[in-house]
Amino acid sequence: MDKYHDLKNTLSYIHSELNRVETMAGTLSAIERDHYNKLTNFDHRELVDIAVEEQNAARQLGTMKHMCLAMAEKIEGIKNAIDRGELGESAQHAETH
């Protein structure tokens, strides 16, 4: 189990950073959405185009937030597999096939 100690630490680090990125993406997404609302108050074509870009950015940040969440779940799954001692078994299993 000790040989996976470093790996577990690294996974914990990635997990915590992913949580941070997820939070940042969510916050930025909300800000971008707010910008869209503000920019569309002006009857100016170029500003409306910028607003549309902001809205696209908001959606892509929202997507990043969910990608981070999905990745964090996978990392949690690997950590749990290490705790249950399943990682070595599955690696051995993969080698034999």
Binding site: S29, E53, Q55, N56, A58, R59, G62, T63, H66, A70
Partner: protein
């Protein structure tokens, strides 16, 4: 200033006799035409064209004369004009009290993931993708680049169509779905290893699985380069995928592509009444996604018979596929991408509510892309001449303006979808389901499991029990057809 007014008055006075003469000529001509229309026998009367045209339809009349002129199947652009999917008979149900609408400060999640079981799943920021429209066979390179740029700006994917890999398209597209195609032009590892998802193309709504040929006279140097063709060689799409002559061949191909690339591997077919039998093989092959192209699917050009008289409407393709995947326990594991005649955001969202994970749009995307620039073509050329490979005005298309128009269009579509999600009390587009819908057609209710809007949810069974005699003739017909099929 007064001098100008006086001059203008003089000119108008000089024009008066000309105006009177024109009025006289028009009056005489119209009078004679009406008199002839009244007095001539019907068989000699020009008016016979009106009921005759109404009898066969304007489009059919023109296609009759085109066939008579060409002697070969005519190539109609953009797909069937028939509306076979009754989208208008399905409605969303807003909430007010029993469940509350979504507060306006909550962002609606618009992302969707394709192939979550693949080593490299594809996550899209919006559930609308740009449909398979090939470079050369259909569109110009500028148009393909504009589509790719717009898709990337919106955080979604574009599709190569049945073509080789266009470097400029690959460069402009953040997410590129490539078609492993029956022409064989994308079917080598140097090409398909550079894709973000692979769609094995065995058919399309507007053409079925029929072979297609682009003659060498319509193939330029850039086309030959991308497709690896020799000068004078035609581009041929076979009816069968080279190397796939059995179910096992297909299963092996899916496995090989998955192992080699790690990206989502999908199957694209035209929707037909054999749908479940085709999907069974897709389930056995363990594909990551299935693209169903309904009978209303568009094309750069195809015979009207293939477009109008072949296939299954998109709406029923979605409801049947969803039911099949649920029955097999693979719903959402095998993603469903719906396409074919989806032109409004409402239709797209209904497709999602009925079980699609995403939709492709082709015709609507092209119209949005051309929109402002159509003035460069009309009135002497159709707007499509700006975008199709063989069009006369392709060099006049402004790529960045086209891309921006499409980005604005996609944004407007998704925002309209978000509005519906909010009034349904949902926080994600993919959370919208059949339970958010009702239909005003008892047959759709019966066939798809959407509740009938005529009666309260608790009275659905009673309604169908009481009206059972009305359905008997159709049940008998269905049984008869079932017997004939076996």
């Amino acid at each position: 200033m007064p001098l100008t007014v006086v001059s203008l008055g003089r000119v108008l006075n000089m024009l008066k006799p000309i105006e009177n003469f024109i009025r006289y000529v028009i009056n005489e001509t119209v009078d004679k035409a009406i008199t002839r229309a009244i007095r001539d026998q019907y068989t000699e009367n020009l008016y016979e064209m009106i009921p005759a045209t109404r009898k066969v339809g304007v489009t059919n009349l023109m296609e009759i004369v085109m066939r008579a002129n060409q002697g070969t199947p005519v190539s109609r652009p953009l797909g069937s004009p028939l509306h076979l999917s009754p989208w208008e008979k399905i409605l969303f149900n807003p909430v007010h009290l029993f469940r509350l609408p979504t507060p306006e400060n909550v962002g609606i999640r618009t992302s969707t993931s394709i192939g979550h079981r693949a080593r490299k799943p594809m996550t899209l920021s919006i559930p609308i993708m740009i449909a398979a429209m090939s470079f050369g066979g259909a569109l110009s390179k500028s148009t393909k680049i504009a589509l790719a740029k717009a898709a990337s700006a919106a955080g979604t994917a574009t599709n190569t169509g049945e073509a080789g890999l266009v470097e400029e398209e690959r460069e402009a597209a953040q997410l590129l779905i490539g078609q492993y195609n029956r022409g064989g032009w994308m079917n080598t590892p140097d090409k398909y290893n550079r894709l973000d998802a692979i769609e094995i193309q065995l058919g399309q709504g507007a053409q079925g699985s029929t072979p297609q040929r682009t003659t060498s006279k319509n193939i330029g140097e850039d086309f030959r380069e991308v497709f690896g063709l020799k000068e004078g060689e035609d581009a041929l799409i076979h009816s069968r995928l080279p190397g796939v002559n059995s179910k096992d061949d297909f299963i092996q191909l899916v496995r090989r592509l998955r192992d080699e690339t790690g990206v989502p591997i999908g199957l694209k077919i035209a929707a037909t009444h054999h749908l479940e039998k085709e999907l069974q093989i897709a389930v056995e092959a363990d594909v990551d996604f299935v693209t169903l192209d309904g009978a209303e699917g568009g094309t750069h050009g195809g015979s009207p018979t293939l477009q109008d008289d072949v296939g299954l409407p998109t709406l029923f393709a979605i409801t049947r596929a969803t039911e099949f995947f649920e029955r097999k326990g693979v719903f959402r594991d095998i993603n469903l991408i719906a396409t074919g005649g989806l032109v409004t955001p409402g239709q797209m969202l209904k497709a999602i509510a009925l079980g699609a994970d995403g939709v492709y749009i082709g015709t609507a995307a092209i119209m949005a892309l051309v929109s402002e620039q159509m003035v460069k073509a009309v009135p002497f050329e159709p707007p499509t001449s700006l975008v199709v490979y063989t069009g006369k005005l392709t060099d006049k298309l402004d790529i960045d303006l086209s891309a921006m128009n499409l980005v604005r269009y996609l944004n407007a579509c998704v925002m309209e979808m978000e509005q519906v999600a909010m009034t349904l009390g949902k926080t994600a587009l993919t959370d919208i389901s059949k339970s958010d819908l009702c239909t005003i057609d008892p047959f759709i209710a019966k066939a798809s499991g959407i509740q009938l809007g005529y009666v309260a949810p608790e009275n659905q069974d009673r309604f169908f029990e009481e009206t059972k005699p009305l359905f008997h003739p159709y049940e008998d017909q269905a049984e008869e057809q079932q017997t004939n099929l076996h």
